[in-house]
Symmetry: C2
Subunit: 202 residues, 2 copies
């Protein structure tokens, strides 16, 4: 687990989870600038309460959360404040975590690393089991939506070293996955999966 | 439970659930034309597999499912074919089922009927418990999304008697809630909550 100043790594294609006490924050760093980071948050007192994209959208009135927004749970309470964002602010709330079923449909015939399993593995490392796989906040994932509602698989518009700071509004567990999607261009045209770094801030 | 020809009612503000065998279909009728119907589907063999908006969007490539689309589960399999739609095709996949927390935030100080509890009650009537509250397919709910991603609370554009037909692609349970939202205008400017009807088709 990270001290307040230590820089931690979510290795490329892997997941990690981090406890935050209310008032602490997590700085999540897009080292390469092209890496999507699937992000979840669970109430530390009751994992059945978690950050929920479908509950957040009606509260925020947008599909694109931005700096200054309170990110809310399936019980409609703020869990994280989106405090800082050095990137242009393109993040996704529409797309499920990838999973082995998805890679099967994309043509993979053997197991492919995936964010759903990374969430479970990251939580397990700190002795926890997620009650389900909530739809994640996909940091830096660029899913444009056209006026007819059609979605596309964009490349991140962030630059190397861009970061976000999410501040805990309750004691919580934040889980991160350095998304292993290397078939679609969501992690850049080169489809190179890279590390994410994070740091706990007081 | 409905025979193949009997017309069943989901009373205004309430929920019902219906078993379908693979190949059967459910015709869901917007009697008033202004009533939103939150809709879920669960694999009858394993309720942990269910129709999932966040898994459906990347497969369909749109936030607006339309006639002809295969609606898919959190295991990326078709569960319902969106076979017929007599309405202009405006349905929502973005907004969570309403719940008592939501009505509290909207100013209610006592219990308010809600789609989350209606799902549980409808399933309980046929002896089942949903494993969680998936984000629903909100039939006839009109949530416009502007080019910046901002959402609005529109009124239904459907007319009295409009219906959809959803055909089961696996044995499943379909749950319906005649959404009791009477504070926002999603069930029409008059905020009048009305019955939904349904019929099982061979």
């Amino acid at each position: 687990m990270a001290d307040a100043s230590e820089i931690m790594t979510v290795p490329a294609r892997r997941g990690r989870a981090q406890r935050l006490t209310k008032g602490q924050a997590i700085k999540i760093i897009n080292v390469s600038g092209t890496q999507v980071c699937d992000t979840w948050a669970f109430n530390a007192e009751d994992l059945r309460e978690f950050m929920s994209m479908e509950h957040m959208r009606p509260t925020l009135g947008t599909i694109f959360p931005r700096q200054g927004h309170h990110l809310i749970t399936n019980r409609r309470r703020p869990i994280l404040l989106f405090e800082t964002d050095t990137s242009p602010g393109i993040h996704d709330t529409l797309i499920a975590a990838c999973d082995d079923y998805r890679y099967g449909l994309l043509g993979c015939t053997t197991y492919h690393d995936n964010c759903t399993d990374n969430l479970a593995a990251g939580m397990r490392q700190i002795g926890l089991t997620p009650p389900e796989t909530p739809s994640p906040l996909n940091l830096w994932m660029n899913i444009p939506v056209d006026p007819e509602g059609k979605t596309a698989w964009g490349e991140p518009v962030s630059k190397p070293g861009d970061y976000v700071v999410l501040r805990a509004e309750m004691d919580c567990i934040v889980a991160l996955s350095a998304c292993p999607q290397d078939i679609l261009p969501i992690n850049g045209a080169n489809r190179q999966i890279t590390d994410i770094q994070y740091q706990v801030l007081a």
